[in-house]
């Protein structure tokens, strides 16, 4: 499962793979999220959140998860739904981004 930090316009976005343990944690964090009326507000130049891609539906997890600004968009076999990020997915992914050396891309610096 591939995590993409959606931030760039010209260059390809930074990306990394989730470990087996992280996939398990992802499943736990996705369970029981309260519904949201709208998808994540991820648009324009600069930081646009994270996209987790799982095209094969590995582990029974959704095929695509988008996380930004406190909201989550989940797409899978059952269709698509929006939820509130009550389980801290975005901070968790942000820590991963920092670990991968992309901390400066997730921290707004007085744009």
């Amino acid at each position: 499962m591939r995590v993409t930090l959606d931030v760039f316009s010209g260059r390809s976005n930074p990306a990394w793979d989730l470990s087996a343990a992280e996939r398990g944690e992802l499943a736990a964090r996705l369970a029981g999220l309260p519904p949201a009326d709208e998808p994540p507000a991820a648009d324009g130049l600069g930081y646009r959140g994270f996209v987790i891609s799982n095209p094969s539906g590995e582990g029974g997890l959704p095929t695509e998860i988008r996380v930004c600004g406190g909201r989550v968009s989940v797409r899978g076999a059952g269709g698509e739904y929006h939820a509130l990020d009550a389980a801290g997915l975005e901070p968790w992914l942000t820590e991963q981004a920092r670990r991968e050396g992309h901390g400066d891309l997730v921290e707004p610096t007085g744009w």
Binding site: V7, S9, G10, R11, N13, G44, L45, G46, R48, T109
Partner: protein, 290 residues
């Protein structure tokens, strides 16, 4: 029209006034072209070009020709060209190095009463060293007149599932759907990894996107998130600018949701972290990227 020969460091620069006929001649020479800002100079010692001031009773003629009230004819070449008004580059053609060299040489011929022969000859020599365009390049540039051909805004072409994810800002600005998330310099064999204005500009230059206009071109603009990324805009015939942030949808609004048109342009709109405005450039119609 007042001419100032920008050459001295300590002494006041020589100045003289063009005759009405000379002013008219110069205006005709420069009409329709964007002029350099009067203060756009690297401050080098020696000949730095001419500063023209149209704040005289022939202002009306110059203004009709689209010339700014004060502007510079640079010493040599078009490197680091800064327009007197940023918006001029959206509507006026960029002069070639040959245009500027010819104007500089012509102006030198008008200064006989105010500049002694020794200084005139010195400037003539400095102009020769100041990097005018080589004859061949000048001939090529003169061979194809600049024609701006911006196309109408058509986001529907880009914002479909089979196109949007695979084409980025560079694809959009150069108007070429490669489905490769194109990178400046790649198609011409000069890839770049340094995210600064000069480097991205140079890479795009290799691909054909230049600071000067020859033949049919579209207006584009480059901005940079210093050290991180680049972004491009393209002007549309509708009178505003469009862009495509990465794999997101093409749009004509900035990060504040405002249409990038009228008083708003790529230089002064909300660009998020892309804080360096590198300048306006020209992308030849039919230019390909990969």
């Amino acid at each position: 029209m007042l001419v100032t020969l920008d050459i001295f460091s300590g002494m006041p620069n020589p100045t003289w006034t063009l005759t009405p006929k000379q002013a008219k001649d110069l205006t005709s020479r420069l009409a329709g072209k964007a002029m350099a800002a009067a203060d756009a100079t690297d401050g080098a010692l020696g000949f730095r070009g001419y500063i023209l001031s149209t704040a005289t009773d022939d202002t009306a003629t110059a203004a009709d020709a689209g010339l700014p009230e004060v502007f510079r004819i640079p010493a040599g070449g078009m490197d680091g060209f800064v327009p007197a008004h940023a918006a001029d580059l959206e509507t006026l053609a960029l002069p070639s190095a040959q245009d500027m060299g010819d104007a500089a040489e012509w102006l030198l011929g008008t200064g006989g009463g105010a500049v002694d022969d020794e200084l005139l000859n010195l400037v003539k020599g400095m102009m020769g060293e100041a990097g005018r365009a080589p004859a061949a390049e000048a001939a090529d540039a003169a061979a194809a007149a600049c024609v701006i051909q911006n196309t109408a805004y058509n986001p529907g072409f880009w914002n479909t599932p089979t196109v949007q994810p695979y084409n980025n800002c560079y694809n959009y600005a150069m108007n070429f759907r490669s489905n490769t998330f194109a990178q400046p310099g790649k198609i011409s064999g000069h890839p770049n990894s340094v995210m600064q204005c000069a480097n991205v500009s140079a890479a795009a230059n290799w691909d054909g996107c230049k600071a000067t206009c020859s033949g049919p071109n579209k207006n584009v603009a480059l901005v940079v998130w210093p050290g991180r990324d680049y972004h491009w805009y393209r002007r549309h015939s509708n009178g505003f600018w469009g862009h495509k942030p990465g794999s997101t949808a093409a749009r004509n609004t900035d990060n504040s949701g405002r249409v990038i048109g009228g008083a708003l342009n790529p230089q002064n709109c909300n660009r998020g972290p892309y804080t360096s405005f590198c300048g306006y450039r020209f992308s030849p119609v039919g230019m390909k990227v990969s």
